[in-house]
């Protein structure tokens, strides 16, 4: 355990054009935290995530992962990433196990997976309850099952930071609950979770800390305070977003 936060953004500004998408954003996430970033469409959530992962370089400010500049961070095994939908083509024949094995690639480089690597793959499959699906084509799975497989890929790599970009879009309600239960279990095991999420109900129910983003940070604090604060209205421009569930 190092003292540096797992994620640390300091006064980060970034824009694809002259207009910044993210402006003066500071955010520190410590080991073991479970944090959700919420905001309306176009609020810069996904951009923030890409800055955190080092896929984008800030125009101003610094982005660090585990105390190193995010763009220079090269210990890929420590990062687990789950996208909204996998970018693979629908016809690609690839099994769940083959996808999960990718989690070990940062550890083996050009080499082959050892018996220990394969054991880590099987363990990760079991952790997310997908062992029975290991030889299924990934395209045959439901949305919820597929996202579990991607979590397993992160676990196989021994990730200690899990970054998820709206992982439950297109996933049926029952599977969404199971998915959040899984995240909670992993969080209990000590994995740091950063969740980019549009589903405010899920956030209110499951997450410890909320960051409300719309180009800049409007709120950053415990979920209980978030639900009662006026941050929602200021971020989303309406007070009715959580109205039904609050």
């Amino acid at each position: 355990m190092t003292d540096a936060p797992v994620i640390e953004l300091s006064d980060v500004t970034f824009g694809y054009t002259a207009t910044p998408v993210i402006e003066d954003v500071s955010l520190a996430v410590d080991a073991g935290e479970y944090v959700a970033v919420v905001g309306p469409n176009g609020s810069g959530k996904s951009t923030l995530m890409e800055l955190v992962l080092g896929l984008l370089r800030p125009d101003a400010g610094t982005a660090e992962l585990f105390g190193e500049a995010a763009t220079a961070f090269d210990d890929g095994g420590r990062l687990g990433y789950v996208a909204q939908q996998a970018s693979a083509s629908k016809e690609m024949p690839i099994t769940v196990r083959e996808v999960v094995r990718m989690g070990r690639y940062p550890h083996v480089g050009f080499g082959r997976l050892s018996a220990a690597d394969e054991a880590a793959v099987e363990r990760a499959l079991a952790t997310v309850g997908m062992s029975a699906f290991a030889n299924r084509r990934i395209t045959e799975l439901s949305g919820g099952q597929r996202q579990r497989a991607f979590i397993a890929r992160a676990l196989a790599g021994d990730a200690d930071l899990l970054v998820l970009d709206e992982p439950t879009v297109g996933v049926d309600a029952e599977s969404v609950d199971a998915f959040y239960d899984l995240l909670e279990t992993l969080h209990d095991d000590g994995i740091t979770v950063l969740l980019i999420e549009h589903d405010l109900h899920a956030v209110a129910e499951h997450v410890d800390r909320v960051v409300c983003l719309n180009r800049e940070v409007y709120f950053d604090g415990p979920t209980s305070e978030f639900v009662e604060s006026d941050a929602l209205a200021r971020t989303f421009g309406t007070a009715a977003v959580l109205g039904e569930s609050a």
Partner: protein, 346 residues
């Protein structure tokens, strides 16, 4: 049918070597030696079996080139098709044609005596890098830029050829449509070099190529230099295209990158299986196609592609039948806690 069968083996090495007097000879010498071994082996097969087409040294080279194409084209094609980059093979083949024209032009003007396939390799690799750099700058591969590269290459080729029409028009068909009988020892040896480079590179970087093919963003997060591997992939594509051009021709070469892969995707469960099946299907198409074109006296490239398409149609049918047979009892998604504790104990 057994014309000079006994005398041929000893003549093989000489006939292999006597065809070429290129500046590359010292470099290619070990590959000429391999070619002569291969040729002796096939003469042996001819003597034992009496298969007619095996009595000609040029067919030995054509078969070897075909077998190599049957491995390397689907090997690279699998990565391209699943990234929906099937068109890139076509674009590079047409720029390779410009490379051939430049080679013929230089040979005619400067009398260099270099195989036009070598200049084709250089031009195609440069074009491949250009396509990749454009895509990196614009953030996406787009069919417009590929169409522009394709047309530019072909236009440049035709202009160069027409400028020298007197001396160069002869033999252009062999590059456009491919030709079994014009695979020289030098070109076969160049192909063996390309084959070694391609198979070696894929064997070394298979993890990275698969990850980038499946999910570019996740691969980048995992610390893989995505742009670098994309460049490797397009350059390997350029090498495959030029290598396969000899018997497939510019116009049909891209089919070998795509059709066997598409067939394999229909019947395979896993990525590993699809790689293997695509190679098997491609080899089937190549061997059946070469034999059919020899006996039917038709253009090899065209026949091979027709056979490959036939195999693809059959694969679709088999794939559908497999799907129907699989009345899958969907397994239960395991519970999270129990499974974790039961497996993490070992």
């Amino acid at each position: 049918m057994t014309t000079a069968a006994g005398a041929v083996p000893s003549a093989t090495v000489q006939s292999v070597l006597s065809q070429s007097s290129s500046p590359l000879d010292p470099v290619l010498a070990p590959f000429y030696w391999l070619l002569s071994l291969w040729s002796e082996f096939l003469f042996g097969v001819h003597e034992a079996t009496g298969i007619e087409l095996l009595q000609y040294a040029f067919m030995h080279r054509a078969i070897l080139v075909g077998l190599c194409i049957g491995v390397m084209a689907p090997l690279i094609g699998t990565f391209l098709v699943h990234r929906q980059l099937a068109l890139i093979g076509d674009a590079l083949a047409h720029t390779a044609f410009a490379g051939v024209a430049i080679g013929l032009f230089l040979n005619a003007v400067l009398n260099l005596g270099v195989s036009p396939y070598l200049t084709a390799v250089i031009v195609a690799v440069v074009a491949a890098l250009l396509i990749e750099l454009i895509s990196e700058a614009t953030g996406a591969y787009n069919d417009v830029s590929m169409a522009i590269v394709l047309s530019t290459g072909f236009a440049l080729g035709t202009v160069l050829i027409s400028l020298n029409a007197g001396g160069l028009a002869v033999g252009i068909n062999q590059y456009l449509f491919g030709n079994l009988s014009t695979v020289s020892a030098e070109n076969a040896a160049i192909l063996l070099v390309l084959f070694a480079v391609i198979v070696g590179t894929v064997a070394l970087t298979r993890n990275q190529l698969l990850y980038v093919t499946f999910d570019e963003t996740a691969a980048a997060v995992a610390g893989i230099d995505v742009n670098w591997y994309n460049r490797v992939m397009v350059m390997l594509t350029a090498l495959v295209v030029v290598g396969a051009m000899q018997i497939m021709g510019v116009i049909l070469v891209a089919a070998m990158l795509v059709v066997p892969v598409a067939g394999a995707a229909q019947v395979s469960r896993s990525f590993g299986e699809s790689l293997l099946v695509s190679v098997v299907l491609a080899e089937l198409a190549v061997t059946l196609g070469i034999a059919a074109s020899y006996y039917g006296e038709a253009t090899a490239g065209g026949v091979i592609v027709l056979v490959a398409v036939g195999i693809y149609v059959a694969s679709v049918a088999v794939g559908k039948a497999q799907d129907r047979r699989r009345t899958d009892a969907t397994p239960e998604v395991g519970s999270i806690d129990e499974t974790e504790h039961s497996t993490s104990s070992d």
